[in-house]
């Protein structure tokens, strides 16, 4: 059985979503990927979905929800319920935040969406801390890659996912008070900003980083 993958990242091929997909599909013999950033192709993607039984959606959290391009596709899908009825679906939401709470509202909605579409919901998986997956050396992401590959394997074999696997991947809903206090110390030392500062400096924009161009309009 082959898998149709929807990469919902606005960055398309050059995305953290694509890295996650590469981990997931290790055991699949064949997969097809559609890029939802190509909004004009949404109708033909629905046509393509007809010949698949299993779907995978992977996208980043954008302002507490799915990227708008993904929502646009969902709206098109909802006008073709007959195409998606009884298909199996799995969603992976990833975000730069290291707590799962940011993605929980979207998880709730995706469950409702699968229900509206009468699809078979396999599960929603949340991956925190994804910003920069693309730039990390493989050893830094090895643990997450293994966890995601295990979920992919179960999905491929029609085995229900291990609840522990979902919990382990998600991490804490919110951090403990101790960890939050530790983060505050790192923040004071400027150590939590290094990833962004490096990019700001590279672009000669470091001095402008607090600019508020529309404050006097």
């Amino acid at each position: 059985m082959s898998l149709l993958i929807f990469n919902g990242s606005p960055r398309g091929e050059n995305s953290n979503s694509n890295i996650i997909i590469s981990w997931f599909i290790e055991e699949f013999e064949s997969t097809t990927t559609a890029y939802l950033k190509k909004v004009k192709q949404h109708e033909s993607m629905i046509e393509e979905a007809k010949s698949f039984d299993q779907l995978l959606f992977v996208f980043p959290l954008y302002v507490d929800g799915m990227p708008a391009q993904v929502k646009h596709f969902f709206e098109r899908m909802s006008q073709h319920k007959e195409v998606f009825k009884d298909k199996e679906v799995l969603f992976i939401i990833h975000s730069g935040f290291s707590e799962a709470i940011h993605s929980k509202n979207l998880e709730k909605y995706l469950t409702r969406f699968a229900d509206i579409m009468e699809m078979k919901m396999y599960g929603v998986f949340i991956i925190p801390g994804s910003e920069g997956f693309r730039m990390m050396p493989p050893r830094m992401t090895a643990k997450k890659a293994k966890q995601v590959a295990a979920i992919g394997r179960d999905y491929q074999r029609n085995i229900p996912f291990q609840k522990e696997a979902k919990v382990a991947l998600e991490g804490p809903l919110v951090h403990s008070k101790a960890k939050a206090a530790y983060f505050k110390i790192l923040q004071k030392l400027g150590l939590t900003n290094l990833y962004w500062d490096r990019q700001l400096k590279k672009n000669n924009a470091f001095d402008k980083r607090f600019d508020a161009p529309y404050s006097k309009m």
Binding site: G65, E75, N105, K108, F113, I116, T192, Y214, M217
Partner: protein
Amino acid sequence: MNLIINGITNSSFSEFETQLEQMDHKDSVYFKLRDLQINYCQGCWDCWVKTPGICAIKDDYEQILSRIPSADQLTIITPILAGYESSLIKKFKDRLIPMIHPYIEIYKGEQHHRQRYGKTPDIKVIVLEDEDTTDEDIATLTELYKRTSLNLRNELIEVVRVKKGAEFEHVLTDI
């Protein structure tokens, strides 16, 4: 100033829309998203790391974005489509990220982005329901906007429901 954002995607709420547009809302600026040329966020992060606070995409969106820091209220009008706010409204929200800063801080015990501006307008949401909208859909949408208010450090004023076929005049006068 009240910034009114109309995220209705087609003519199916024409009566509501006509009356909305005929009303004289004092001290407000009205944007009808579907009549504007607004592109999707591409996730380039230029507004964070290259031209802080300024979006790389040049289109009609800047007319809206530039008014947000000086607005007192943001009124979002959205139909429920597939159980959620419209993709037009989501597009509007995705492009709000120049309003925030990439740096992360602890706020109310959670990680949140630092704000680029001192204040952002409080949010009111007017939801145009369809026949399949459930109380749970509205509860999920309300929770979504509470999260968004937490991220933008403002208040969610309220989520107003307009049921399919129900009276809506009082909603418009109270905008």
